[in-house]
């Protein structure tokens, strides 16, 4: 036993650290009132705390916790969770402040090609032209908000599920890295954060995952890494295809080039205005494919999807929620941010490819779902299937399709965490994921059953829930672009309903008056989900309804983004190229 005095000392230490963190957080939060503003009258560095705070706080918390003696680690778990949650809420506060205009009144609905709000640039690795260049537009802001809202929800949902003191800090770090991806306007930075997201997730899976977690975690890491290194090759190639600028050389950039996306976009736009393919159509296509591979693996799209089911099945609830909720969206985000913005000609050329892959993902994914017996695998494959819709939306080459695809990312980002929260709770409480191993969940766990029903229904595209908006918008654009191919998504919608209903029939329903318990429970009574889980799922459900009924909160911003993109470059290409 450790002496009382010593424990008090630990507490004091702890209070000190948390106090410091809290004070800095408050300072950061209050800072806008007397902060320096940029020329556009915006506090442009506000994204910095969004990225840096969670990363730093997570690292500090973990370092602090790891230095404590082993026996104390149970005791510090709770405060660490609280601090992490406080940071997550602070991030949510900042991003919501941006959304609702508490911090900055920004009209997110208006968007122009290559113009970003809160544009902030600071030289980072000057010698090779890397800078900390961040900015937000309708596309990235919706993703950032999604991330910030998911992080606290994930924390709340998994509050009691897993013991450990670095679970929540890891989630916090994950959030920082993800936001970094979404705000980055510099390819180097983009890639750094892109890869950085892997590490917390790797640990989440490895530490709290299922029986086969080692395999799954490594597969996840290596598979996505492989995809992204090809993308990195594309980034570097793109970099060296830029003209060297004397001005940059004078600033100390040895190569005279930058990784700045906005600079490249200027070039791309100029080329499109002059009706020539930027970089030459062959090069553009090659680069497009390199980037595409990275994004497709992340998305994931068939046939690069097999890491996903393994990762999901093994990942803990929090891991799955974040993985499905935000990480997959990185792929879609990249498609817009890079492929659509910089390679419009190639995008047009490879419309068929996106269509094919999207369609295969969608249809094939749903049929694979129908053949699954593991709840999490089923949900994972349903993600694959839904991500196909994003590709279809892009393939339509319509602003509506784009906006719909982005909304799909957003909606799926809210719905799929709910699905995985349910699946995770299922695993947590029943120690199995086999569909049909238990029946009559409505009896034992009415809350869980309710949320399962809700989530499943939301995922199969029930109107007034967020997923429907995405589906209907993409499909409208799809019909315009491809006509009768819409039959295939149509069939998929039926199959989707089939597998979801089937899985519900075998879990929520049936089982007679007393229900059937899985063998894995060993005859023990199955408790309903905890209050934490209920709160988390409830929040997600409420968001799902909110954005199903009032989609325009974000849809207008996405429409604006798509409009800007088409107005700025794509329209030129479509009309000129065709």
């Amino acid at each position: 036993m450790i002496s009382n005095a010593k424990m008090q000392m630990r507490d004091r230490e702890f209070a000190l650290i948390s106090g410091l963190l809290a004070i800095s957080a408050v300072l950061m939060y209050l800072f806008p009132s007397f902060a320096v503003e940029n020329s556009a009258g915006q506090i442009d560095w506000i994204t910095l705390p969004l990225v840096a705070f969670p990363l730093i706080a997570g690292t500090v918390l973990m370092a602090f916790a790891s230095m404590q003696p082993y026996r104390l680690k149970d005791r510090i778990g709770q405060p660490i969770k609280l601090i992490s949650l406080a940071f997550a809420l602070m991030m949510l506060g900042i991003s919501s402040g941006l959304l609702f205009g508490w911090l900055e009144s920004i009209n997110w609905d208006l968007s122009q090609y290559n113009r970003y709000e809160l544009d902030f640039e600071y030289a980072w690795i000057q010698s090779i032209g890397v800078s900390w260049h961040v900015g937000l537009d309708g596309l990235s802001f919706s993703m950032v908000w999604l991330t910030t809202v998911l992080i606290p929800i994930v924390m709340i949902t998994t509050w009691e599920e897993k013991i450990g003191w670095y679970h929540h800090p890891l989630i916090l770090m994950m959030g920082g890295a993800l936001i970094g991806v979404f705000v980055a306007l510099d390819f180097f930075m983009f890639f750094v954060f892109w890869e950085m997201t892997l590490i917390p997730m790797f640990f989440l899976i490895l530490k709290w995952g299922g029986d086969d977690r080692r395999y799954a975690a490594q597969k996840f890491f290596i598979y996505t890494f492989t995809g992204s290194v090809v993308m990195l090759l594309g980034i570097i190639t793109l970099y060296f295809l830029q003209p060297s600028s004397q001005a940059l050389v004078d600033q100390g950039v040895l190569t005279g080039r930058t990784f700045d996306m906005t600079q490249m976009a200027i070039g791309a736009q100029a080329a499109a205005n002059a009706d020539i393919a930027w970089l030459g159509i062959d090069m553009q296509k090659a680069l497009f494919l390199m980037f595409l591979l990275g994004f497709l693996v992340k998305l994931p799209a068939v046939p690069f999807h097999t890491w996903l089911p393994d990762a999901h099945v093994q990942a803990p609830t929090a891991g799955s929620m974040l993985l499905a909720g935000v990480m997959l969206k990185m792929g879609g985000y990249g498609l817009f941010r890079v492929c659509a913005t910089l390679f419009p000609e190639a995008l047009l050329e490879y419309q068929w490819l996106l269509l094919t892959i999207g369609m295969v993902s969608l249809v094939y994914g749903s049929f694979v779902c129908l053949g699954q017996t593991n709840l999490k695998r089923l949900v994972a494959f349903s993600s694959v299937s839904h991500m196909g819709i994003i590709l279809l939306g892009i393939a339509t080459m319509e602003p509506l399709g784009f906006a719909g695809a982005i909304f799909m990312m957003f909606a799926h980002g809210i719905i799929s965490p709910l699905l995985f929260a349910v699946a995770g709770a299922f695993k947590h409480h029943y120690h199995t994921l086999e569909i049909g191993s238990m029946r009559g969940m409505a009896k034992h766990s009415p809350w869980l059953a309710t949320f399962m029903m809700f989530g499943w229904m939301a995922s199969l595209g029930l109107p007034l829930l967020a997923g429907f908006v995405a589906e209907i918008t993409v499909l409208i654009a799809f019909w315009k672009a491809f006509g009768w191919w819409v039959i295939l998504p149509g069939i998929t919608l039926i199959v989707t309903a089939a597998y979801y209903l089937w899985s519900m029939q075998k879990t929520i329903f049936e089982g007679g008056d007393d229900g059937e318990m899985p063998e894995s429970l060993g005859g023990a009574p199955a408790p309903d989900i905890s209050l934490w889980e209920v709160s988390g799922m409830m929040l997600l459900a409420m968001l799902t309804v909110l954005f199903g009924v009032l989609p325009w909160i974000f849809f207008d911003m996405m429409t604006g983004y798509a409009y800007g993109l088409f107005d700025g470059i794509l329209l030129n290409v479509i009309t000129g190229g065709a």
Partner: protein
């Protein structure tokens, strides 16, 4: 001035908002005495809410009929989604909005829906809360019930096809939830799934239809798509495809052939649900949708383009009507009879609409409106009658059940399906799954209830009469119109194909007379077949209220007819003739019994009379001959029923014949099997889709992931091979250095 229209939005919103509240309160307060008692587990809230909706609706309707609120669209409330599309190299802005639209059809349906929902809510207070099976989960029922009402009300009020679809889908969800209300029964969960999936198939067609429609018009607003100029501007062929797709959606929702399989199974839900789905709301949605297609057919620009589609609609109706009536012959379950009857009656409306659309498309505007009006009127009549019938059957079942419990001293409530395997979905339902168990829905367990349940028996009789089309009672007015319209169409040039549906309808009219009477007589006439039936009394509170109300409404069909309802509902500009009821009735009578003044007047007259004869006399008489009978000694039915019972016993005594040849025939067998549709669909699912899905899963795991695993495995293997090359012998290493030198020579020399 406070206008009803200002509050109209609350009609669908109120129940939607109440839905989560009841669910939440129910989950929290579950089991508390006050919640069970005063709050009726949410029933009180539900009734108040739906009552408010009814009040608002009536306010709206009264205002509308009195021209207070204006005639047509209430207009857009706002943009829901706004977006851009590329059109001819430009970005064009579009939006999908939401708003409300009122016209005669929607007003009529609004009344039907809110009125019936309210009555059913009251009915449920009695039915649901007094059944111990439902204890502690009634809040679920009420919540979902409210959502369902919201779906229907919203759908009716929506001013565009998108929101129509949205609420349409919400109803689909609710039907799923409510059919699966007794989740612990495998049959219920199976039925729920089946209902959702089957309607989903239709829904996808509808969705695609809407996509095409949007693409044609750039909007889904009624006001835009119905505008004559807009219709004239689009390609007729594409529009036809869109309309066809939408029609398939309607087929799914209204349970028409070939997507009809879900409806009988849907009887797994509690009886109020059956009343709700099969009478008041959901099945009407499909009809409403088809009715909403009328302006396309009526557009002069499209004249003659859609005749085949109209014909198809009529044929689907005809086939379904006949088929459902046929299957209804052999059903022993009181609710299933009603279910098939619903299917059949809806099919009537479909045929009527088909004829109306056909006429509209071929330029016979006047008669088209007449047919359309008749169909809508039949919808109204059928909704009222069927709602009542279901509630009456619910009353019977409930009391039977209750008594059974008392008799059997069985307290644990309707128990689980027990050993009934998931595969055995056919036939059995409710308590019928368990073979040792008493089936409160089986008509063979009933009999002679006319004296024990007078209100119910009366309601049942009136409802059946309306469905059969006994002259002067509700459904008669509209059914005559439909059959007449179909025949007229078949006699008009180019409409020869309509003869099929017309004939089918005519035959079905007689069959309706038979199976509805059969149901009534089996239940209420004769002697009680079981001790349970002997002990039944009407005792549950709340149940009689809706029954009596609806009896009055159904009997009052003649008044509505006198209002020239048919004209009013069909013609957007007509007004109700409140002042000339009597003369209205007179002219309607003349129309119904002595149609003339048109070409082929004689034939139409013949058909009319034939309909009346076979449905009113032949059908019921046959049923009496088979199933009639005197009540138990000492029992006495109410005077307005007594004559019917004694008539039946007399007919039976004199004309009873042995129908066992028919009953044991292969036809009856396949009718029991519902003409094997379910089996085929199941087989298609199990033999094609599921194996294909499994093959996909296998492919994914072994081929796609197998490739990855292969790379993994291959590298591991390669690794050990390569490592084995490092033998450890220093001599080999030197050898490799020498070889390497050679290799460098070759490589460099080769290039040089």
């Amino acid at each position: 001035m406070v206008s009803a229209i200002d509050y109209a939005l609350w009609i669908p919103v109120l129940p939607i908002v109440a839905f989560p509240i009841i669910l939440f309160l129910g989950n929290v307060f579950k089991g508390m005495p006050a919640w069970r008692g005063r709050w009726k587990e949410g029933g009180t809230i539900a009734t108040i809410v739906i009552g408010t909706c009814l009040g608002l609706s009536i306010w709206l309707i009264v205002g509308y009929i009195g021209q207070v609120t204006g005639n047509e669209s209430v207009g857009q409330i706002g943009d829901w989604l706004s977006f851009h599309m590329v059109e001819n190299g430009n970005l064009v802005s579009y939006s999908l909005g939401f708003g409300m639209y009122l016209d005669h059809v929607s007003v009529m349906l609004l009344f039907v829906a809110s009125f019936l929902c309210f009555l059913i809510a009251i009915f449920s207070l009695g039915y649901m809360n007094s059944d111990p099976v439902n204890l502690d989960r009634n809040h679920r029922f009420y919540a979902e019930f409210l959502l369902f009402c919201a779906g229907m009300l919203g759908m009716v009020l929506a001013d565009n096809f998108l929101w129509l679809f949205i609420f349409w889908e919400i109803m689909g969800l609710c039907s799923y939830l409510l059919i699966g209300f007794y989740y612990e029964r495998p049959s219920a969960s199976y039925a729920a799934k089946k209902a959702f999936l089957t309607t989903r198939v239709g829904d996808i067609f509808l969705l695609i239809g809407l996509l095409i429609l949007w693409n044609l018009f750039g909007s889904l607003d009624f006001s835009v798509v119905w505008a004559e100029d807009n219709i004239a501007a689009v390609d007729a062929g594409t529009l036809k495809i869109a309309l066809f797709m939408m029609f398939v959606g309607a087929v799914g929702k209204s349970a028409q052939f070939p997507l009809h399989v879900w409806l009988p199974d849907a009887m797994e839900g509690p009886t109020p649900v059956s009343a709700l789905i099969h009478a008041a709301t959901m099945v009407n949605a499909g009809l409403y949708l088809v009715a909403r297609m009328f302006p396309f057919f009526a557009s002069p620009a499209m004249a003659g383009e859609f005749t085949d589609l109209a014909m198809l609609i009529a044929w689907i109706g005809g086939i379904t009507a006949f088929m459902a009536a046929l299957i209804a012959f052999v059903q022993m379950d009181i609710k299933k009879v009603l279910a098939y009857s619903t299917m059949s009656q809806l099919a009537y409306i479909f045929t009527g609409l088909g004829a109306a659309l056909w006429f509209a498309n071929t330029g016979h505007e006047e008669i088209a409106l007449l047919a359309f009006g008749a169909s809508m009127f039949h919808l109204f009549n059928h909704a009222m009658a069927k709602g009542m019938l279901f509630m009456a059957s619910g009353s019977v079942i409930h009391e039977m059940h209750h008594v059974h419990h008392e008799v059997a001293h069985h307290d644990s409530g309707e128990s689980a399906a027990g050993n009934a395997a998931g595969g055995d979905h056919d036939g059995g339902q409710g308590g019928g799954d368990d073979h040792d168990h008493f089936d409160a829905q089986d008509m063979s367990n009933m009999g002679g209830l006319a004296s024990k349940m007078p209100i119910t028996a009366t309601a049942m009789a009136v409802g059946s009469a309306s469905i059969i089309g006994i002259p002067l009672i509700g459904g008669f007015w509209s059914k005559e119109g439909i059959i007449g319209a179909a025949w007229k169409a078949s006699l008009t040039s180019g409409g020869a194909w309509m003869l099929g549906p017309a004939l089918l309808l005519l035959i079905t009219a007689g069959m309706t007379g038979f199976y509805m009477s059969r149901m009534w007589f089996m239940t209420f006439a004769g002697k009680p077949n079981t001790p349970v039936a002997n002990g039944v009394v009407e005792q549950t509170p709340f149940i009689p209220i809706p029954l009596i109300t609806l009896t009055v409404v159904t009997l009052g069909g003649i008044v509505f007819a006198g209002f020239e309802f048919v004209h009013w509902v069909a013609d957007g500009h007509a007004e109700m003739h409140f002042t000339h009821v009597l003369s209205g009735i007179g002219s309607e009578m003349k129309h119904a019994f002595l149609p003339s003044g048109e070409e082929n007047g004689a034939l139409i007259f013949l058909v009319t009379m034939l309909t009346i004869v076979i449905s009113t006399i032949v059908g019921p008489a046959t049923a009496m001959a088979l199933y009639g009978g005197r009540l138990q000694k000492g029992e006495k039915a109410k005077p307005w029923l007594a004559w019917l019972v004694s008539l039946s016993s007399r007919v039976r005594r004199n004309n009873h014949f042995d129908n066992s040849i028919w009953a044991n025939s292969g036809l009856a067998d396949s009718l029991h099997q519902r003409l094997h549709f379910d089996a085929w669909y199941d087989a298609a699912m199990l033999k094609i889709v599921v194996p294909f899905a499994n093959a996909c899963a296998w492919f994914d795991q072994h081929i796609i992931d197998g490739a990855i695993k292969g790379i993994e495995y291959g590298s591991q293997e390669g690794s050990s091979v390569i490592r084995r090359l490092t033998t450890g012998s220093g001599r080999d290493y030197i050898m490799m250095v020498a070889l390497g030198t050679l290799a460098i020579f070759v490589l460099i020399w080769g290039v040089a």
